[in-house]
């Protein structure tokens, strides 16, 4: 899967799941603010990434993923 494909898929999936416009999902945007995540809905981000890419983001890695660009990096480096 290319980075472009990952980006497109993340945008489409997260926009639908968190009910935001795809246009707000920009590389340097902060995920938590953009998707209005709280401590509970953060679990849904992990779950959706897992369903979509078969990539598990461990709890200890989560604090290092702040922006969408960092999320793309993580998925790109772990996707099969």
């Amino acid at each position: 899967m290319t980075r472009e494909e990952i980006i497109e898929k993340v945008k489409g999936t997260l926009a639908e799941e968190f009910e935001v416009d795809e246009s707000v999902i920009q590389p340097e945007a902060v995920i938590y603010e953009t998707l209005q995540l709280d401590s509970l809905s953060l679990v849904d981000l992990v779950a959706v990434v897992q369903y979509t890419f078969k990539v598990k983001i461990p709890a200890e890695e989560l604090p290092t993923i702040k922006t969408f660009a960092q999320l793309y990096d993580y998925i790109e480096s772990h996707v099969a």
Partner: protein
């Protein structure tokens, strides 16, 4: 002791999603039952079910709160919005007063299944998602609604099979009567998805009259062959009489008595003695004579054993008085956890609008059901007091009596 009155009603049912729609469906005998191709394809013995539309809550509740709500909580939210509006209770009132909630619910099958499917597929508990724990507890309706409406009174789910919401209303009646609460949101919710009733279909409890869905649920009829599963939610607002008068509410009816009993017998096959005690206790507790009851909304679900035994219990309780009896399940199917509350509303709509909705599909009685006066077609009728039965698996029985105001 306080008098306990009804000041608001709301419903999300296969007969309609407003009180006016439901009233018209009852009056005209419109059935809410359909044949589901999805259920047949999935392996159901009977594909008959109620046609309950899904509400769209996107514009009403933010995503992060909606994630906690399974289907039954969504139905209950819609019914409760209506009931509060009907009772002229707004959020400011709820914020300023101690209002409680007691709701009947006895399954969370689809939510539980969906979450555990994800857990097993990914071998990871986080895959269940954030809403799963809140969606898959039996008290999901009361936990969601209590938070959404910021309720600070009693917060309780009643789980008692198909008597759940009748017992919810009965318990709320007792709390208000005894002065422990002034106002309680009551009701019942029933998930309408196929997963909630797959195992019920598995014990061959459902009607196989698939060639005629609208006549499949035919309580008391000689040729009944099983129930049809339904769903949705129904909410009634109960208050003490003084509380209702003080805030200038329109009083619709008064809960004048409640009776209940246990069969102490078989888990699924009812007996006559248990329901009879529930009926007799309701009359006795309210000091009510059988002749004062103008209409009985029966529990009758369209099963051989259940309808016959309820008919005998009614006949034994009412003696020579041939009280008019119908089961609205002839139009709605069996709304199970919701039925006690929804059937109270159906009966209220009849009482307030001067008619008795016909027991559709009733063509011939059998030996037992001939002992009661089943009304087969809608007729104009004035009555000022009705009795509503709800019975459930495990032999739990509940009977409410409501007077017109």
């Amino acid at each position: 002791m306080n008098r306990v009155v009804i000041t608001g009603m709301g419903i999300w049912s296969c007969l309609g999603q407003t009180l006016d729609e439901v009233r018209d469906s009852l009056y005209t005998g419109r059935s809410g039952i359909v044949l589901s191709a999805e259920r047949k394809e999935a392996g159901f013995r009977s594909g008959l079910c109620a046609n309950v539309p899904k509400p769209d809550l996107k514009k009403l509740i933010p995503r992060n709160l909606r994630m906690f709500m399974p289907e039954e909580a969504q139905y209950a939210y819609m019914a409760t919005l209506q009931a509060l509006d009907h009772a002229k209770i707004d959020q400011d009132f709820l914020d300023a007063h101690e209002v409680g909630i007691i709701y009947g619910n006895d399954s969370v099958a689809e939510a539980t299944m969906a979450a555990l499917d994800k857990f097993r597929e990914f071998r990871d508990t986080a895959a269940c998602g954030s809403g799963a724990i809140f969606q898959s507890m039996n008290s999901t309706v009361t936990m969601n609604l209590a938070c959404l409406f910021r309720l600070r009174g009693i917060n309780l789910t009643a789980s008692a099979a198909c008597a759940s919401s009748s017992l919810a209303i009965g318990n709320a009646y007792l709390l208000i009567k005894n002065g422990l609460q002034d106002c309680i949101i009551c009701g019942g919710a029933q998930e309408a998805n196929m997963y909630s009733v797959a195992s019920f279909d598995g014990i061959q409890a459902f009607s196989l009259r698939e060639d005629n869905p609208t006549q499949a649920s035919r309580p008391f009829d000689r040729d009944r062959d099983g129930l049809v599963p339904g769903g949705g939610a129904a909410t009634v607002i109960l208050e003490s009489y003084d509380h209702a008068v003080k805030r200038g509410a329109t009083i619709l009816g008064e809960i004048v008595s409640w009776g209940f009993s246990g069969n102490g017998d078989h888990i699924s096959t009812p007996n006559v003695a248990g329901p009879t005690r529930s009926l007799e206790l309701a009359l006795k507790n309210g000091g009510i004579l059988p002749q004062q009851i103008g209409y009985v909304n029966a529990h009758a679900t369209s099963t051989k054993a259940g309808d016959g035994r309820e008919a005998l219990a009614i006949a034994q309780t009412f003696g020579d008085y041939r009280v008019p009896v119908t089961s609205t399940k002839s139009q709605t199917g069996h709304e199970m956890w919701m039925a006690g509350a929804s059937e109270l509303i159906y009966s209220m709509l009849m009482m307030k609008n001067g008619f008795i909705a016909g027991n559709t599909g009733f063509e011939n009685p059998d030996e037992e059901t001939a002992k009661v006066n089943v009304v087969p077609e809608t007729r104009e009728a004035h009555f000022d007091m009705f009795l509503s039965n709800s019975f459930g698996f495990g032999g739990t029985n509940s009977t409410l009596i409501v007077k017109n105001i």
